[in-house]
């Protein structure tokens, strides 16, 4: 998701509901039934209303799991008589660590004992749990902690104030004399109570409107390294963490879909005779997405699909071919498109003495999350329930309701942790959710059904980071300054054609050009234009969105210009960073920590890059070695300025992850299209970085009092250009086509 979504107006959900023709509620409300649920070892549980996937959901080991509490001053925190604090997390946990971060924000202001803090995931409710940047409930754009920083602290401070007020009343002392620490209230008189003991009395207090928040010096968890270890570590290390595929429901069926083999392919006919002969297959049904094979288990569903005979009409997309497309984009890049930035310098540009012209080519990229897409859907009793890694509950909720032809209050989403997203699970089509609902409809809600993508389904599904071509022509004047910079970008608009299209202003999708138009550099001479072709393959944001390609172009071109000017890449950049002290700060920090300018051992060179995305500044120095024409990234030194560093270890983890994910793409990742189909379908051809290829990563975090910004994405953009700049320094080519397998610099 994109930070620019904060341009959405406050009533975004209403606008989208109208657009989609979805109703919020039906009146009168149907009475909710009592459901029976098998709950494993604990026997039958009788509950009203919606189901939990299993009893384990409510009692996960470690710090995950729910606690009830009488003290419920707001939507985000509960304090129970059992002395447990539960933080309700509005953001989706896909590995970025925001669950831990959100809990620590509440716990800090509440003065909670971290070992007594639990977390649970919020239901879909845009009124209570919207991302304050979006006006909708959703996670993305590296915004989870940034938008919640004051909201979650305030929630904790409110609960604390009520506990203090209750103690003051009970103990007949002024509230200002009561101290709080580690979930305990104390007074100099010797009075003492745990939060659990005071929770009931506190629940009778009125929540204060604007509880005072701590000053940075008073923080107990925020910015305190390793003070709040990840709450999801234990369950993810013993196999009990519950992902979508792990949901157990009585009579649960598994569906796989025979998806169109190519983009835009249309179903002509199918013969289910042999598929239905496969033991375990219960249904073979047509759905808008293709033909669903439903079975009692995943293997039976796969076998049934293999036996299914389907005829497709692929005529509309058979010409879709990435080589041809690249040639077309290259030709387009020679022509000016829609301007996205015009030179603001009034005087005539100084004559360039050296000019560099370069065309850069970026492939389609799949997200390739470890957990292939999936969703459980159950239509029952006039309601729909779904279980999935709902990264953007507001979209999923509306579109699930629309698919089920139900009002939104008859649809309940259960958001589970997901096995990665990198942008994949946040899409305005809610593809996996809607498809699961369509299968549930097609079997008339007879049973809950889990739609499972195979790895091949997942990789071939489209929703790729689009292919892009950049053409840049830039020149250096006699003084070694940049004289002019002409920049044309060609590539699909991610925002076009959906409810996000309102983000496109004057023909410019901001996600196509971010990082060029809003560069950290002082480049008033930059003249940029954009072409946004449309294709049958759906585009989607991919970890760091536009910066996945713009940072590469900007940071390798700057490096080439520095070389042309005979300047050191760091001092050259610093001369252009006058208006961005934070970019300059991380650049200097990374260079300093990496030993920039000091001799390296033979066959090793350093490359550097700096980039800002989502308000976070990151610089990286890559130590790259070359042997027999093949490169290896040995070490990456990373400096990050994300404002107040809420959880330093999570920040380090995200930088490490961004570097590995970015390096994977730089080395290997490419989806080719042939005859309208995706060629790469599994990890054998869509290769992923493995442990022996992971460089040593050192992360240095800038101390800052600026408001916190995100870390899930901004660590990625500088990696590829830093490596490419080192390759050039090693005497290798200026790489202008990714991935590096294309230039033979890594083993294929």
């Amino acid at each position: 998701m994109h930070s620019l979504m904060n341009r959405f107006h406050a009533d975004e959900q209403r606008r989208l509901m109208k657009l989609l023709g979805v109703r919020e509620s039906s009146a009168p409300l149907l009475s909710r039934r009592v459901f029976l649920q098998s709950a494993g070892a604990t026997g039958l549980v009788i509950g009203f209303g919606w189901l939990a996937p299993t009893a384990a959901d409510a009692a996960l080991p470690g710090a995950e799991g729910a606690a009830a509490g009488p003290l419920a001053p707001n939507a985000f925190v509960r304090v129970g008589t059992d002395n447990l604090v539960t933080v309700i997390c509005k953001h989706h946990e896909m590995g970025q660590g925001n669950t831990t971060g959100l809990a620590s924000l509440v716990a800090d202001e509440l003065d909670a004992d971290w070992s007594l803090v639990r977390t649970e995931y919020a239901p879909s409710d845009a009124k209570l749990y919207s991302n304050l940047n979006f006006g909708l409930q959703g996670t993305g754009g590296s915004s989870a902690i940034a938008n919640s920083f004051l909201q979650y602290r305030s929630a904790g401070a409110t609960a604390r104030a009520m506990l203090v007020a209750a103690a003051a009343e009970e103990w007949h002392v002024p509230s200002g004399e009561i101290r709080t620490a580690k979930s305990t209230l104390t007074h100099a008189s010797g009075r003492r109570a745990t939060y659990g003991e005071m929770a009931m009395a506190a629940s009778r207090q009125a929540p204060p409107d604007n509880p005072p928040l701590k000053k940075a010096a008073q923080f107990t968890f925020i910015s305190k390294d390793r003070s709040t270890p990840r709450v999801d570590s234990p369950s993810k290390c013993n196999g009990t963490a519950m992902y979508t595929a792990d949901v157990k429901l009585p009579g649960l069926l598994t569906a796989v879909i025979a998806w169109p083999p190519g983009f835009g392919a249309k179903l002509v006919s199918f013969d289910a005779t042999d598929a239905k002969k496969v033991k375990g297959v219960t249904d073979v049904v047509e759905v808008p997405e293709g033909v669903a094979v439903v079975a009692t288990g995943t293997w039976a569903a796969f076998q049934g699909r293999r036996a299914l005979k389907v005829q497709w009409d692929e005529s509309s997309s058979k010409d879709l071919d990435s080589d041809a497309l690249l040639a077309r984009y290259r030709a387009q890049a020679t022509q000016p498109g829609t301007p996205f930035t015009k030179p603001t310098t009034t005087s005539a540009p100084p004559a360039a003495v050296k000019t560099i012209e370069a065309v850069y080519e970026f492939p389609f990229l799949a997200h390739a999350t470890m957990e292939p897409m999936n969703c459980v859907a159950w239509l029952h009793d006039g309601t729909l329930e779904t279980w999935s890694g709902h990264q953007f509950p507001s979209f999923d909720h509306m579109l699930a309701a629309k698919a089920a032809a139900l009002p939104m209050d008859k649809v309940k989403l259960h958001t589970l942790v997901s096995g990665g997203s990198f942008g994949r699970r946040a899409n305005v089509w809610s593809d996996f959710t809607v498809a699961a609902v369509n299968v549930a409809k097609a079997i008339d809600g007879r049973a809950p059904v889990r739609l499972q993508f195979s790895r091949e389904d997942d990789t071939g599904a489209g929703l790729y980071r689009p292919m892009y071509v950049h053409a840049v022509k830039a020149g250096i004047d006699a003084q070694g300054r940049i004289a002019f910079w002409e920049h044309t970008v060609v590539g699909q608009s991610i925002m076009a054609g959906g409810p996000m299209a309102m983000m496109i202003k004057e023909g410019i999708d901001p996600t196509s050009v971010e990082g060029v138009d809003k560069t950290v550099y002082d480049l008033p001479m930059l003249a940029g234009t954009l072409h946004s072709p449309t294709l049958a393959v759906r585009p989607l944001w991919w970890r760091s969105v536009g910066s996945t390609h713009t940072a590469y172009v900007m940071e390798t071109m700057i490096d080439e210009l520095a070389a042309a000017a005979g300047r050191d890449p760091v001092t050259f950049r610093l001369s252009l960073l006058g208006k961005s002290p934070r970019a300059a700060g991380v650049l200097k920090l990374a260079a300093d920590k990496a030993g920039w300018g000091k001799p390296r051992r033979a066959g090793v060179a350093q490359g550097i890059a700096v980039h800002e995305s989502f308000g976070t500044f990151v610089a990286q120095v890559a130590d790259v070695s070359m042997r027999d024409g093949k490169i290896k990234v040995e070490r990456v030194v990373c400096a990050v300025d994300c404002g107040v560093p809420v959880n330093p270890d999570v920040i380090r983890a995200q930088m490490e992850g961004c570097i590995g994910y970015g390096l994977s793409a730089l080395y290997y990742s490419e989806i080719e299209l042939k005859d309208g189909r995706a060629v790469q379908r599994n990890f054998d051809t869509y290769r992923a970085l493995r442990i022996h290829e992971m460089p040593r990563v050192e992360v240095h975090i800038m101390q800052s009092t600026e408001k916190p910004t995100g870390v899930g994405e901004p660590g990625l953009p500088p990696l590829a250009p830093a490596v490419a700049n080192a390759v050039a320094k090693l005497g290798g080519p200026r790489v202008r086509r990714l991935p590096l397998t294309r230039s033979g610099l890594v083993e294929t």
Binding site: N238, Y243, G280, S454, I691
Partner: protein, 153 residues
């Protein structure tokens, strides 16, 4: 034809197709969902289990191939080595999305059972079959060394 399995020390009968990959029997027949499906072609290692102490990609092994052998999944890890690995993983907060980590822990445990003091190269060889898209590799390496040190100490 039924297949007799020994999973986590418990004898179980499986009555279905003997060609069914072990992964689906573990997950859907035995209800042990800590072992994950990632690729189905033994490329990613998310489905790694132990068979007689050796790692096996359960997505690509027919259940009939493990008849009568000792299968251990993440849920059944109990050795001193395994506990040291899991502790190191938690201590260093290795996980991010976590989906691959059962497989990573199975591979790391098998490595340390065989080689209590692995070199970085040993780790590369033992762990190269396990993909982590969150790229937690640096911490995986550190956690294996930490577990090794703990076991030695």
């Amino acid at each position: 034809m039924s297949v007799t399995l020994n999973i986590n020390g418990t004898r179980r009968e499986f009555d279905g197709d003997p060609d069914t990959p072990l992964l689906w029997v573990i997950r859907e027949e035995m209800g042990l969902t800590g072992t994950k499906y990632g690729c189905g072609i033994a490329q990613c290692g998310a489905c790694t289990v132990h068979v007689d102490g050796q790692t096996l990609r359960s997505c690509s092994a027919p259940v009939s191939a493990v008849a009568g052998r000792q299968v251990t999944t993440i849920e059944g890890l109990s050795s001193r080595t395994a506990k040291a690995v899991q502790k190191a993983w938690v201590d260093l907060d290795v996980v991010q999305c976590g989906y691959c980590q059962s497989g990573q822990i199975m591979s790391a445990t098998a490595l340390l059972e065989k080689k209590p003091k692995p070199s970085d190269t040993d780790i590369d060889h033992a762990m190269a079959g396990n993909i982590c898209r969150c790229a937690t590799y640096q911490r995986i390496r550190a956690a294996i060394h930490a577990a090794s040190a703990q076991l030695a100490g």
